[in-house]
């Protein structure tokens, strides 16, 4: 069977009206409107095999949401092709729409004035979920996300975190095979983020759901995805293992060393990030890591030494800022 998500050379160009500030420009624009073309996504291609969770990373305006909109059939690409579960998404075949789900963290998909339970019933009818399956899934999800006491509360009275839990339940009730999660944990506290992450992970492990996840929280990505796709200014920068991201975009590693007799001068070994009498943290170029570690071990009575990749946030920041 082919991969459930395939993007090939996806490109989306928007025609955007432009006008300078000022009254004169306003009048001028009445007669001659000016436009410019913005390439939001440029030749993006990737494949996601069944049952994989992929983190889709990029700064604001990188083209993540535009790509997701093309993959869920909301936007027609300017060029390129895509297949989701074998369908061209923008043809919006009903069979495809019944088998995918889209959760946008900043959008409310539930009936605002009614309890979430009513939205779930509506989704049951939209997707034609049989009674028994619906009841079984709902009980299970409500139990796992601990929202039983909130089911009869109008959505407008729920906190952001509670509402997001309900959004996720609504998106999963029809048993989607592919789920697009666009910033699902945005604005949530750490506990709530963890709860939602665990739920997505369980769905992936138990039901084999394929997930494409965008998030600005690296904790989401590192907890859920072994593979990440990085996009910036519409272009794909990286597609590979999360662990490989540091190798590719970070030229250094961090060495932490504890010793009672640390040499006074560590500058020759690397950039000293932090130090006190018995401990030091050094930023060392990747190809010098073993050499520096050996030197430290021989120069002092080392009680602890660790070599780490820089934090993911730092690597991502480096990628996005082009440093």
């Amino acid at each position: 069977m082919d991969d459930p998500v395939i993007a090939e050379g996806l490109t989306k160009t928007f025609k955007v009206p432009v006008r300078q500030a000022g009254l004169r420009e306003s009048v001028k624009s009445l007669f001659r409107r000016q436009f410019r073309y913005v390439e939001a996504v440029k030749e993006v291609g990737f494949r996601i095999p069944a049952g994989e969770i992929v983190g889709f990373l990029g700064p604001n305006g990188a083209g993540k949401t535009t790509t997701i909109k093309m993959l869920t059939g909301l936007l027609h690409p300017t060029s390129g092709d895509a297949r989701v579960l074998g369908y061209q998404p923008w043809k919006r075949d009903k069979d495809l729409l019944r088998r995918i789900a889209l959760v946008m963290g900043q959008r409310n998909n539930l009936q605002w004035d009614l309890p979430a339970a009513d939205s779930f019933l509506l989704n049951k009818a939209i997707y034609g979920v049989p009674d028994g399956v619906f009841r079984e899934r709902l009980d299970d999800y409500v139990d796992r996300l601990e929202v039983g006491a909130l089911l009869d509360k109008p959505v407008r009275n729920l906190s952001l975190g509670e509402r997001m839990k309900m959004e996720i339940i609504a998106a999963m009730l029809h048993g989607p095979e592919v789920v697009f999660l666009d910033e699902p944990t945005i604005g949530l506290d750490v506990t709530m983020q963890r709860r939602l992450r665990q739920f997505v992970l369980d769905q992936n492990k138990e039901e084999g759901v394929t997930v494409l996840l965008t998030s600005h929280y690296m904790a989401d990505v590192s907890a859920l995805a072994e593979r990440v796709i990085v996009i910036n200014q519409g272009s794909l920068l990286y597609d590979g293992a999360l662990t490989g991201l540091s190798n590719r975009f970070s030229s250094h590693k961090t060495i932490r060393v504890e010793a009672s007799d640390l040499p006074a001068d560590l500058d020759g070994l690397g950039r000293v990030v932090d130090r006190n009498s018995a401990q030091a943290t050094l930023e060392v170029e990747r190809d010098r890591v073993s050499e520096v570690a050996s030197k430290l071990l021989s120069a002092a009575t080392v009680t602890d030494l660790s070599i780490e990749d820089p934090p993911l946030e730092e690597v991502i920041d480096r990628v996005f800022s082009g440093r």
């Binding site: 928007f14 998909n109 009936q111 009513d118 939205s119 019933l121 029809h174």
Partner: protein, 272 residues
């Protein structure tokens, strides 16, 4: 997984209508106040035309005082059935990106909106009953009750809803090209006020205006159901009116299908 799912449009309409019904009952006091607000307009019209009828010896345009009262009491119910998803709401929906959710679901949003408003009508009708009782006691409408008229009214009022829903839905599509769809809605609303029979029964307008109204959809959404219930139409006229409603619904449905395809193609190109 999803292969076990079985969609049924009838079940979906039932669920959509239930949601619309629940939503409007959730705010029953607000809904009731809107209904009370609806009263001001017909009560003013009724007072004016009753005075004119009295001044002319009891009749105006073929209506006596009791028939005028009947016209405007039924008016209040038909007005409820004439509310639908208007172009201003479309503008909001597109600007807010709400349309994305509906486009990513396997049911056309037409069915969603149509069924929601159907359920909403039921809720509003329940809240309308006490208002109708008060209006009846105050204005003493004269209606000749016939089973055929009541049955035909049940069809005509829903037919009127379908036609008006489609008129507004097609107009709502303008918002895919311009964010000023609401302005055009204002112009059409003014025409509708005159040619629907909402302002005044069409028999009271000059002949040319009444003739024009036959060829516009508005009469069939508003005055026609009222006249059916108050017994001003014979069986042939009722059948013809339902025929006009069906023709308008079919024509507008076809127009919507064509315009929707273009609108959505534009949305896919521009996005939100």
């Amino acid at each position: 997984m999803t292969t076990e799912n079985r969609f049924s449009l009838v079940r979906y309409y039932a669920a959509g209508a239930r949601t619309g019904f629940q939503r409007d009952l959730q705010y029953r006091m607000a809904t009731f106040m809107v209904l009370v607000g609806f009263l001001i307009e017909p009560v003013v019209y009724l007072s004016v035309w009753s005075a004119v009828a009295r001044a002319q010896g009891g009749m105006v345009g073929g209506f006596d005082e009791g028939q005028l009262a009947a016209y405007y009491v039924v008016w209040t119910l038909v007005r409820v059935y004439n509310t639908a998803f208007d172009p201003k709401a479309w503008e909001w929906r597109i600007r807010q990106g709400r349309i994305n959710t509906f486009l990513s679901q396997p049911v056309h949003m037409f069915h969603r909106d149509f069924s929601f408003f159907m359920g909403s009508k039921i809720a509003w009708t329940i809240l309308w009953i006490p208002i109708a009782v008060v209006l009846t006691l105050v204005f003493r409408p004269s209606i000749e009750w016939h089973v055929v008229n009541v049955a035909a009214f049940a069809i005509a009022i829903w037919g009127g809803y379908a036609v008006r829903f489609l008129v507004l839905y097609v107009m709502g599509m303008i918002n895919f090209w311009t964010t000023r769809g609401a302005a055009m809605f204002g112009i059409v609303s003014a025409l509708e006020l005159i040619f629907s029979g909402r302002l005044v029964p069409l028999q009271l307008l000059p002949d040319w205006a009444e003739s024009i109204s036959t060829w516009l959809p508005f009469r069939w959404t508003f005055q026609f159901p009222i006249e059916v219930l108050i017994g001003r139409l014979d069986t042939t006229q009722i059948a013809a009116g339902i025929g006009y409603q069906a023709a308008w619904a079919a024509g507008l449905g076809l127009l919507f299908t064509v315009v929707w395809r273009r609108a959505i193609r534009r949305y896919e190109a521009v996005g939100n």
